[in-house]
Symmetry: C2
Subunit: 434 residues, 2 copies
């Protein structure tokens, strides 16, 4: 039990969360004179960028998740605990979890973000978020269950509600989800449901701003919009959801859409553990940190990735909530922790923007890399390559690759199965075990 | 809507269940002058022989399931409904389901079998069955959750209970499950849980009869027992479970084993829908049928596969509950239904026994084909080939093959993830949606 014995001599770094940031940090502390303890409510790392493919039957859940214990196999100064963190107790350098208390010399909060319903209990209850694998599987089940139900529904309004799909939020997640639904309809459902008039199935994408893919280049915004419209997605920009009661959505312009399928990708907020004082919380419920990822006002509590808000001259409103930021912060913080332990001055964080990309459908993607922008088939292959390579584990790369090649040539999706039928009750349970 | 229009003219065959038998029957009715309506509580076909690999993290659930709608893509006289059958009402030629009533000209019950707890509510509540994909996933979650829990358990007795695994029933399922657990321990968990003393993890196999793999040849029984013992499985034959309270198992010889992991594979019983009179039910809760698969006393209700009990001169106590019986009965019944409709005499069923096999671990399997019996590496490859070929769908074959090759060379298992944490409450839910 290396970690135990070393705990006698080496300072203990507790990392809350096994996302992109937490993993990079722990990996970069390998063979360093610290004891690393990682806590996560899941025993696996989730590759969130591909959750939408799990939700739409393109990939098995298991191929975008990776056991955390396995990632750190053979790293002697690493220990993992499957636990939910309840609260941080800075004055005692302790954290309280559902499996007991742990004491840290240095604490790193890498808890990421969760869906933001902007305070609306109604939207939180009735819409479907997609931030975790159980949520993506619920979404998959709900989509298929509602299609099955539409076959036996005789009331035309209720039937329409089952066949109208509304995706809220025109960011990468919303765009990729809407595109994926359009392809599911076009290539798969037509054959699966010969009895069903597929033209009765509508896919709406609702975005509050004037454009989709706001953070990307005007070219990418334009062509992603064109791609989506080609694929039959009805895009509504400058539009918001005012109300949703589970059957009918009321839009900010007063129009209504009857639907039982509202997919929520309209916003995220930092998932801050209890015990962090309110004055440390910035916009989007993110923890205020300095350029060394140190939480303002502390000398031993750090935050990285989506849950952290670091405002610099280049990013006055904080950095974007994307994997590369978390990864680069994790890598740097590993170095800085060692420097701090050795009484050396830490190095300030500087984000290297590698660019951004989104995929809309087969042969349809958009890529911005600095001044270079391209769209279409080549962009799509670049998107696939980058995502394939970012997957943890050779087996996952292999299985996802096999699935993608298979789908590309067969126009088919492997996994349109209702393994756990979705119901609101189970949803509230999942929110406890997300 | 071909099925609808044809319903005007052609007799309607309702098939309850999309298992091996139901699928064969429906396929063989393609282009015949009947309307086929299949009902299943799942929207997918489950390849039950590989459930144990899902339970032990070897395979994704999605790769041993196949969407039923897709199997019958393009079969114009086929309709599918995702429904639970509540009751058969022979006098009205109707069945009652959770989505309404359906009327048949010919009804085929192909509902298969479910775990048999021999009337013990205690065993039903506390042990883990493995007949459906949700159950296999619960089992996977429970195994991993209890390992995690054992790390933080300080009470030695409670720790032992978390690390003792008891498999009940030495049939193929029990043997394959015990073997798979032994390999998981040997090749995977040792590295995943360096803190854990793996020798504290015990795997017991409890069998009521004097031998494991009762239906197979003495050679196969002997070598499978040897294989299991080599792999460290503690086998107890002539032994039964008297009591289990969720923490401690009491055996028929009075001995006790503290364990929180009891895997139930000790027996099955036919899953007979409501409305079938008790006098039609034979041993093992199977429906009595004649050699034409006709339920005794009816002219329009048939039963095939595990749920049916046909006693012939070769099989006075009914046929074995294995896939080949269901498949052959489904194929023959398709022919016989057409003959009956055309007022021709039906052909009696004759089971062609293709032999039986079981796998214990890598390079370890046993095969009986008539008088030919062999064990070991070759048997193991035969087992893999036969199972790979029996999987529905090229994509599933491909993904399973990739996983098996990967595991063989890496000694690893891909999917040891707790995606839906298991708790007793969720279990009772799953039993409703199995």
């Amino acid at each position: 039990m290396a970690s135990q014995s070393s705990s006698v001599i080496f300072p203990r770094v507790i990392i809350i969360g096994g996302g992109f940031g937490g993993i990079q940090l722990a990996k970069n502390l390998k063979n360093k004179e610290v004891q690393v303890l990682m806590l996560d409510r899941h025993n696996y790392h989730t590759f969130q960028p591909l959750l939408y493919q799990v939700a739409t039957g393109g990939l098995e859940a298991d191929s975008i998740a990776f056991p955390l214990r396995k990632i750190f196999k053979g790293q002697n100064n690493f220990t993992f605990r499957n636990a939910c963190v309840l609260s941080v107790i800075p004055e005692r350098k302790a954290i309280e979890t559902n499996i007991g208390e742990f004491y840290y010399d240095y604490l790193v909060i890498a808890t990421g973000s969760d869906s933001n319903f902007f305070g609306s209990k109604e939207l939180e209850h009735y819409t479907m978020p997609m931030k975790t694998i159980p949520e993506a599987l619920n979404l998959r089940s709900m989509i298929l269950q509602n299609l099955e139900e539409s076959l036996i529904e005789t009331d035309p309004v209720k039937k329409a509600a089952l066949l109208n799909f509304v995706v809220t939020g025109g960011g990468p997640t919303g765009v990729e989800l809407a595109g994926s639904l359009a392809e599911l309809k076009r290539h798969v459902l037509r054959q699966d449901y010969p009895e069903l008039n597929m033209d009765a199935m509508n896919i709406y994408l609702i975005e509050g701003s004037p454009v989709v893919l706001g953070p990307m280049s005007p070219q990418s915004q334009r062509s992603s919009r064109e791609f989506l419209e080609e694929m039959g997605v009805k895009i509504m920009t400058d539009m918001r959801v005012s109300h949703y009661d589970g059957n009918k959505i009321v839009l900010s312009d007063g129009n209504e859409i009857v639907t039982k399928n509202v997919l929520w990708s309209a916003g995220v907020k930092g998932e801050v553990p209890g015990g962090i004082p309110l004055d440390k919380i910035a916009r989007g419920n993110r923890i205020k940190i300095d350029e060394y990822n140190l939480v303002i006002g502390y000398t031993d509590i750090f935050a990285i990735g989506d849950v952290a808000s670091m405002s610099t001259t280049d990013y006055p409103n904080g950095h974007p909530g994307v994997a590369p930021v978390a990864i680069q912060q994790g890598q740097l913080l590993a170095k800085n922790l060692i420097r701090i332990i050795n009484k050396e001055p830490p190095v300030p964080f500087k984000y290297k923007d590698k660019g951004s990309m989104a995929t809309i459908g087969r042969n349809k993607a958009v890529v911005d890399i600095g001044k270079i922008r391209f769209q279409g088939v080549f962009a799509w292959f670049v998107w696939m390559f980058v995502h394939l390579m970012s997957l943890v584990g050779f087996r996952n790369k292999l299985v996802v690759f096999v699935n993608w090649v298979w789908s590309y040539f067969s126009y088919d999706r492997g996994t349109r199965l209702i393994i756990r039928p979705f119901n609101r009750k189970s949803m509230t349970e999942d929110t406890q075990t997300k």
